[in-house]
């Protein structure tokens, strides 16, 4: 059992690094902007679908990532626009967008599963220079740095304020709706990049690859927050990455003790409940 677990750890760390992207997306919408955003789950698969379609067309990698960023940002922002225009809860608009996206994946990929074995990927292109881990780490650091730099600007300050106190923001002449769009776009593009990296790493795209990613991301985020136990913004940004890696290591442990991979979703639920219990017991919930 221990040998299996040790063998699984490198894979768990790699998956943790890649899956930290949707967790960063969840952190942006849930923590920084106080909104439940289900589009994050949909845009993970959308990122993979766009990547699959673009790589099949032999497009250069920078165009692949650009397409993912643009496509997922638009969907994330659209989710908020639907919520605002139809005056419905973002949770409901997220469900609607999520449902609609399923058809979109099939349109983009043309099939439910797209193998990418012969396509060049960010991992195959730079494998010799940095290795898979190096590339994944660089992607995570780059994304977090951009996010941190944005939050250090005046626009970033208003972004955070719009999430925490939209009425005050409006009184100060800033539109909470506009910053809601930015939050939706940022969360979805992070998730989309995660989906894109996962498709490139696994060398296939699948319409079901995002299933349950939201709960997984939420569990990861909470694990990271419990471990860091701090409301400091920098710690808040690191929490998704740390939590995601730990979550994948725990998943590896579950598999190594003999449980089937199909039991993982159930165990994820148990894990989320356990983390919520630990948070309530040892640390006050963040407002």
């Amino acid at each position: 059992m221990l040998n299996i677990f040790i063998d699984l750890i490198p894979l768990a760390i790699m998956q943790g690094l890649i899956l930290s992207f949707p967790t960063i997306g969840v952190m942006i919408s849930f923590r920084l902007f106080n909104t439940a955003d289900l589009a994050v789950e949909g845009t993970f698969t959308l990122g993979a679908a766009i990547t699959g379609a673009c790589l099949s067309l032999n497009l250069p990698l920078y165009l692949v990532f650009l397409s993912v960023i643009v496509g997922c940002s638009i969907v994330g922002a659209l989710n908020r626009i639907i919520s605002h225009v139809f005056k419905i809860d973002p949770l409901l608009s997220g469900i609607i967008v999520l449902t609609m996206l399923f058809s979109l994946y099939l349109r983009i990929m043309g099939t439910s599963n797209l193998p990418l074995f012969n396509s060049p990927s960010i991992f195959s292109k730079h494998d010799g220079e940095y290795g898979d881990y190096g590339i994944a780490i660089m992607c995570v650091i780059f994304t977090l740095t951009i996010l941190r730099l944005y939050l250090k600007t005046y626009s970033g300050l208003v972004f955070l304020a719009a999430g925490k106190n939209p009425t005050l923001c409006q009184n100060y002449g800033f539109s909470p709706i506009k910053f809601g769009l930015i939050a939706g776009a940022l969360a979805s593009l992070c998730s989309g990049i995660g989906g894109s990296l996962m498709a490139q790493y696994q060398e296939f795209s699948d319409v079901n690859m995002g299933l349950g990613i939201l709960v997984q991301a939420l569990a990861s985020l909470m694990i990271g927050e419990v471990l860091l136990n701090s409301t400091n913004l920098s710690h808040q940004l690191i929490a998704p990455v740390l939590g995601s890696i730990i979550y994948q290591i725990i998943s590896a442990l579950i598999i190594s003790i003999g449980l089937s991979p199909t039991d993982l979703k159930f165990m994820t639920g148990i894990l989320v409940l356990s983390v919520i219990g630990v948070r309530q017991r040892f640390a006050p919930m963040k407002s």
């Binding site: 005046y154 626009s155 925490k164 009425t167 005050l168 009184n171 100060y172 002449g173 800033f174 409301t231």
Partner: protein
């Protein structure tokens, strides 16, 4: 100057304000009194641009149809809710930085707060906030938070200040200190101020004029001369008279 000309406004199909005609001159400090449902908060929401009038014209400094930023650059608002005027998760310094952006464009410039300027402004309220600029607003007492929200509202010196029972949640000592601070700044900077309050002692002690609303209409106005002759008991009598006369 604020000019409301035949303003009718309400929510959905429920009319609240009925043909309001008011002129508040520049630098005037006016109390808005009235019972619950008289239309005081709706009047503020109309001035703040949150409720659009069904009829009539609103002019702020001679202009109408201002957008969110233009309104924010002219008007500051402090509510009775001590949590509403600040971002609880922000430090005092971050809250002050946010306030400094009121009515401005929040661009992608890196923040460069001037701690000394912020401390000087916080020192005005004499609550020791200047020594705690890295404390989160959530960790302040109700009085300190309200003082902070007033200091924030007064950043960039607004032309109009709307105070909606801003001392109602505070203990008497803190409320007095906050009221004196507010009055001092209003007078110093010649700010036009409308204040909703149920504290008649404050009405007698501060301000230039009194407007009493009843059922969405102006029931009584007292100018500065009439106000100066009023004491607390006369004001209670007047309020009761207004309430009963229009029932």
């Amino acid at each position: 100057m604020i000019l409301l000309d035949n303003i009718c406004a309400g929510y959905s199909n429920r009319p609240i304000l009925k043909d309001i005609n008011l002129q508040i001159n520049s630098g005037e400090f006016v109390h808005i009194l009235g019972g619950n449902g008289a239309g005081k908060s709706t009047l503020f929401n109309v001035i703040l641009g949150k409720v659009l009038p069904n009829k009539g014209t609103l002019l702020l400094d001679g202009t109408s149809g201002l957008n969110l930023k233009q309104l924010a650059s002219k008007i500051a608002y402090v509510s009775q809710n001590t949590h509403q005027g600040t971002v609880p998760e922000f430090t005092i310094q971050e809250n002050m930085e946010l306030a400094f952006l009121r009515g401005q464009h929040a661009g992608l410039r890196f923040r460069s707060p001037n701690a000394n300027t912020i401390k000087d402004q916080l020192a005005l309220c004499e609550l020791g906030l200047e020594d705690r600029i890295f404390t989160k607003a959530a960790n302040l007492s109700g009085g300190q938070r309200q003082a902070l929200s007033i200091i924030m509202a007064l950043q960039r010196t607004p032309k109009i200040l709307l105070l909606d029972e801003h001392t109602s949640a505070l203990d008497p000592n803190t409320a007095k200190r906050i009221m004196e601070l507010t009055n001092k700044v209003i007078r110093q900077h010649h700010i036009t101020c409308l204040m909703i309050t149920h504290n008649l002692h404050d009405v007698v002690k501060y301000g230039d004029r009194i407007i009493i609303l009843k059922s969405g209409a102006v029931a009584q106005q007292l100018n500065s001369v009439e106000k100066s002759t009023l004491d607390h008991h006369h004001l209670i009598d007047l309020m009761l008279k207004v309430e009963s006369s229009l029932c």
